[in-house]
Symmetry: C2
Subunit: 740 residues, 2 copies
């Protein structure tokens, strides 16, 4: 280990880059001291307690955990409370899946107890395998295999002349978020949707299965939400408002985000007889999975019957919210969160992240006892109901939207945590800030800084032509946020600057959302010594302390401008690529190329001719980006100059409010097309990818979906938002320059 | 069908390109008439007869087939004979494979009789599953999985710290020619080599298995030669000379082409327990196959025992050679060949090609009865012993080398045939010629010309940036010849202009070299109505008639020059790419990037630093190509002008000899490094790919293997050969221009 580290410093993978950030006066020593505090043993103990029993929304142990968390915060000197909401959370009353023909087979739909695993036997408290927010349904029909169930998979089926109309589709987990699969299936006329875990993806094909290893055993199935979250997350009955006891609710039949067809997740043991019953053409190589059968499209002689019914109950949510009041800027809030609910025992998801965050809270309480007084108010949140659809965070953010837009300077999210690299996505105004944090955190395996380790990974992973750019940039790039955890309401609905942080990339696991994600599993196969739990606590705590104590909030806007410029380039390239591809393909269709190469034994229709994208005018957006870039650079310079001045707190407070509200300039009250809940014009989960982000989503999705007519309007909205942002920054610059 | 064809002609996938070749005076009508003659029913009958029993080298039915073929040629008016050689062909006397630890398992090594398949039960005549020219051996050791067993696979193992020294390797079939696998394994210190058929590649993963479909059943294994053919093919004891009864032979111990370690092919049923016994790190995704297990590198607790012993006998070879004497240029020979021996019944390999060729021979005989007198002598050959290592063709070519270099104007090879596209590789001087033939052959499925269909495929398959180049070129490009069939001695040892032709690309099959490759199989799953058998006969016959009857041989040298220019570009790009890659990788190694991203639970060493390729001077070769291009264009123009003259046969004969000997200018008597048998400086099978061609092999392999010091000398040899060729062409141009 040490040799590696010495080598690196000597020859300099990061020579000259490992500088510490410009110190916030007075804070360096506190965050340095803080980093000594997190203890793996505490994180381990918290995980053992929190994952001891199933603790999904509405379960006894979910409430018990919330109360335990509340006590801990209080014990450590936080001003903590539980805030409750009431939300719709259906749980299954009936689940039947059977093959009717050509042979009879009834799916087990059951994850067996494993004798090695002491908590897998808590059958009475476990939710069965199901997909939340599937509608009730009782359907029968032929089966068709649709690969990952993405729109492009249906284009392949169409060329083979295979329709899913009236069929139950078999989609495998992966590539798109699970909720996309029934959505796209229903758009194509399917009557039911089965989502199976293929052993190639997270079962024996990828490694030893539980309990011999971390991969999914044959009867394991992935629970999970299939709500149409790209439309809006949270309680289906209270879009846009907090699901308080007295909130006005939609009727269930009017809830837009429930699935259109019944859905059920199944194991690969249950999937195999269904897949084996399909006949017809053998699927292409990239559709083949790891079961020892020949994968075919279907349909075939097989007919299946799927029945699911749910108890459509309101359930209580318990959000634990804990505050340390700021001494100087009490009305400025640094918000940190991780969810506490799980599908079952949830040691990895979410307790690995939650227990690290809890250790941060303990450390911050300890610092406070030692005399530290954070300048800003710090709010730590343990969310309930993330798994069904970001319920706890969304309802809280909706209930407190106006306050948050006024007071929150940033939201820092975590979720599951593991061994490996610091993985960050979020607001690019915070990109430089989190890079600086990473420069001060030590990786427990290599003893490099986590910044160096991630930089090495970025160099290794870059295409040959991009490696120099990666090396030359002083900050590594952070990803943009799509969805899949609790940052979504903060960033995409309210415009609170947000980051999602966590470690990972070394261990794969296949027990996600199963009964086996428990303490036994985590301590045998993942971050077994909680070294990365400690590292996450150090990272989160350092970030929180610096955000809380900075006189001028450590945002860097040139990173945002630089990032938006890359999106503009990407979009221009996307249009060019689409234009070239469609023009070429249309020509090949017209020339009969597809007919000429067709195999009459496995006939495929030619793809459909598409409209060639018209010339799209990017100038307004590009020009706005130029303006933004100039203003951003000016602001960053003014901020650096101002840091040397001794300005009074009141003057700084006004500037900081403006800085933290800059992200809101990128919102549009009208929201995105067909999903007005999403207000952010730079970041959104993809309408057809689910978790996967679409940057500048209005423009990008219009281009991707061939709705070229709406591009100019979408582009104009973005240009206007960027100009608004530029003017906003200019205002901040003037305030900074006016400081004495 | 008709609609497609109409559409194509109307909108013009090939508009303006479907012209017929410049007619050879008098020949058009004969080749047009010829194309009416081939009958699917005859091809079917020939296949049924030839594949009725196992007919490997030395078997009774191998000889019986040769005699039957001889009778057919004679019946159709050919002057035919059987020419015999005596070669070393070991057959197994003992085959044992067992897992000794951790559990006991004895491999079956047996392909079971299938009741649906009437010839699969001919056990008494079948060769068992084995790899020919493995040495005898009795070894035991741990097992290591080496993926496809290519040099790059061992680089992956090295990074994981896994050695095969003293181990028995498990390599899967595919990607490289099978003979490469034991060769590379032995270079790395392995003591034995098992080659298994992975179901992902040609078993149930790829489609229904026999007898329900054409893919390999669980106990099916691939026989095949593992001789070191990239050194020299043919009888191991008589390199470079015909293996006549009195030939001087090496002692077996001195034969360079036998394997260094014992080798055995196994089925996936036999492979599964062995692979399942491996422990250690899970292999990367591209190493994983289709068995329902977790693939690991090994070694593990498992130890295996492999014993193979052979009867090292001399066996007779029966080459059937049939002649139609030329009327005008009897000393100029058009040679056509396909092998007749098989590993077992061999309906697909080789009888599908052989029976089509036989139908050509019948048709040519019929034309002759109708009054046709070919100008040149036509020689049809049915080779014995292709499967073990091109024995029949190599020994015949070696025995008749001097005559062939004097008289042969071209060699046209076929092997197995199937549905789909005309696939051609060979001498680029014949590229334009075979394009012209393809323009006159109708594809039975689309009723387009086979030229149009292949052109459509080339457009479809081209990278976006290459599509226009494909459309603009009046001839589609043909591939270069590596090895794997009987053209090798003609082209690469003797410099006879050669083509390999066959149809394929629509059906995959997994019964290759098994007992199930028989008449039942072929007529159920492949070219079931022999429509493509007929098409191959039409193609081969048309080509032979045109080559036989052309006054001036229809070579086009600008196609050669253009092709060599692309090789020069490729090589320059290869050096640049290697330089960039190695420089970058060395930098990453020095910077500690690999150490920084390493996972201590699955440690990998950094790759080894390599020498950056020095600046290599391509000018001499590039300049020679420029000269060649000018001379080639001048010759093509002179030829076109000469075609309008009425020159006396004697003058033409002298020119034709020079044209056909032009390929010999590209030979170097010293041969390639470490394998002097291979004399051609443009085309050779790769030393580490086996069948896969390496163009300009001396230069390319020196670069690939990092032997940069030898590049200038290799480049000089090529430049000299190209200059020799250019001068030779200049001589022909002068002769053409001198014609009255």
């Amino acid at each position: 280990m040490h040799r590696r580290s010495g080598l690196l410093i000597a020859v300099g993978v990061c020579a000259g880059l490992a500088t510490t950030p410009a110190a916030q006066s007075g804070s360096t020593s506190w965050d340095t001291r803080f980093r000594e505090l997190p203890q793996p043993s505490n994180i381990r103990a918290a995980m053992e307690r929190l994952s001891a029993r199933p603790h999904h929304v509405g379960s006894p142990y979910d409430k018990d955990n919330a109360e335990w968390l509340l006590s801990r915060f209080k014990e450590w000197g936080w001003d903590a409370e539980i805030e409750t909401f009431s939300i719709l959370f259906p749980t299954p009353t009936e689940r039947v899946l059977e093959l009717l023909e050509p042979t009879r087979f009834t799916a087990k739909l059951e994850e067996p107890v494993d004798p090695a695993d002491p908590t897998s036997n808590q059958k009475g408290e476990q939710l069965p395998t199901f997909n939340a927010y599937s509608i009730d349904g009782d359907v029968a029909g032929p089966l068709v295999y649709v690969n990952y169930g993405r729109p492009e998979d249906y284009q392949v089926l169409e060329r083979y002349g295979i329709s899913v109309r009236g069929a139950i589709v078999l989609a495998r987990y992966g590539e798109s978020w699970r909720g996309i699969k029934p959505k796209v299936a229903a758009e194509h006329g399917a009557v039911g949707c089965l989502i199976f875990s293929d052993p190639k993806d997270d079962g024996f094909g990828a490694g030893d299965v539980f309990p011999n290893g971390p991969m999914r055993p044959r009867d394991g199935a992935q629970r999970g939400s299939v709500m149409d979250m790209p439309v809006y997350p949270g309680d289906p009955l209270t879009p846009g408002i907090g699901a308080t006891a007295d909130a006005k609710r939609l009727a269930i039949k009017d809830a837009q985000t429930l699935t259109k067809i019944p859905v059920l997740p199944i194991s690969y043991a249950d999937a195999q007889p269904l897949l084996a019953s399909l006949s017809g053409v053998v699927v292409p190589a990239d559709w083949r999975g790891g079961l020892p059968i020949t994968y075919r499209f279907g349909p075939g002689a097989g007919r299946a019957h799927l029945k699911v019914a749910f108890s459509w109950d309101q359930k209580p949510l318990y959000d634990v919210v804990a505050r340390l009041r700021g001494a100087t800027f009490p009305d400025q809030w640094v918000v940190r969160g991780n969810h506490h609910d799980a599908w079952v025992n949830g040691a990895e998801d979410p307790v690995s992240g939650l227990s690290a965050m809890l250790e941060e809270a303990r450390g911050l309480g300890e610092l406070r006892r030692q005399g530290w007084a954070p300048k800003r108010t710090i709010i730590y949140c343990a969310w309930d109901g993330e798994e069904p659809s970001l319920l706890g965070s969304t309802e809280w953010a909706e209930a407190h939207g106006a306050e948050l837009q006024q007071h929150a300077v940033a939201y820092l999210n975590s979720d599951g945590n593991g061994r490996g690299f610091l993985e960050v996505e979020g607001s690019h105004t915070l990109e430089h800030f989190i890079n600086d944090v990473a420069r001060d955190i030590t990786d427990p395996e290599t003893h490099l800084t986590v910044w160096q380790r991630q930089q090495a990974r970025a160099i290794d992973g870059a295409k040959a032509e991009d490696k120099e750019k990666v090396r030359a940039r002083s900050d590594w790039r952070i990803g943009a946020l799509g969805s899949g955890s609790d940052y979504t309401p903060f960033l995409q609905h309210l415009g609170i600057p947000s980051l999602n942080i966590g470690y990972g990339g070394e261990d794969r696991n296949g027990i996600y959302h199963s009964i086996y994600d428990d303490f036994y599993f985590f301590t045998h196969f993942l971050d077994t010594d909680f070294a990365y739990g400690r590292t996450l606590a150090q990272t989160g705590g350092t970030a929180v302390i610096r955000l809380a104590d900075a006189d001028i909030l450590p945002f860097r806007f040139s990173n945002l401008a630089d990032t938006v410029r890359t999106y503009d380039e990407e979009l221009q390239l996307l249009v060019k690529k689409k234009r070239d591809e469609i023009r070429e393909r249309n020509r090949e269709i017209a020339d009969g190329v597809f007919a000429a190469i067709d195999d009459p034994r496995r006939p495929r229709a030619a793809p459909r001719a598409e409209t060639i994208p018209p010339a799209l005018e990017f100038t307004p957006m590009s020009r706005a980006i130029e303006t933004l870039t100039r203003r951003a650079v000016a602001l960053d310079e003014a901020r650096a100059a101002a840091a040397k001045k001794q300005a009074p707190p009141a003057a700084l407070a006004a500037i900081d409010v403006k800085i933290s509200q800059s992200e809101q300039q990128l919102l549009d009250a009208a929201g995105l097309v067909h999903r007005e809940w999403y207000k952010h014009l730079l970041y959104a989960p993809g309408f057809y990818t689910g978790y996967g982000v679409k940057t500048i989503p209005g423009v990008r999705e219009a281009i991707e979906q061939g709705q070229y007519d709406s591009v100019p309007m979408e582009m104009a909205r973005v240009a206007k938002a960027l100009e608004r942002e530029a003017a906003w920054l200019d205002g901040i610059t003037k305030m900074l320059n006016a400081l004495k």
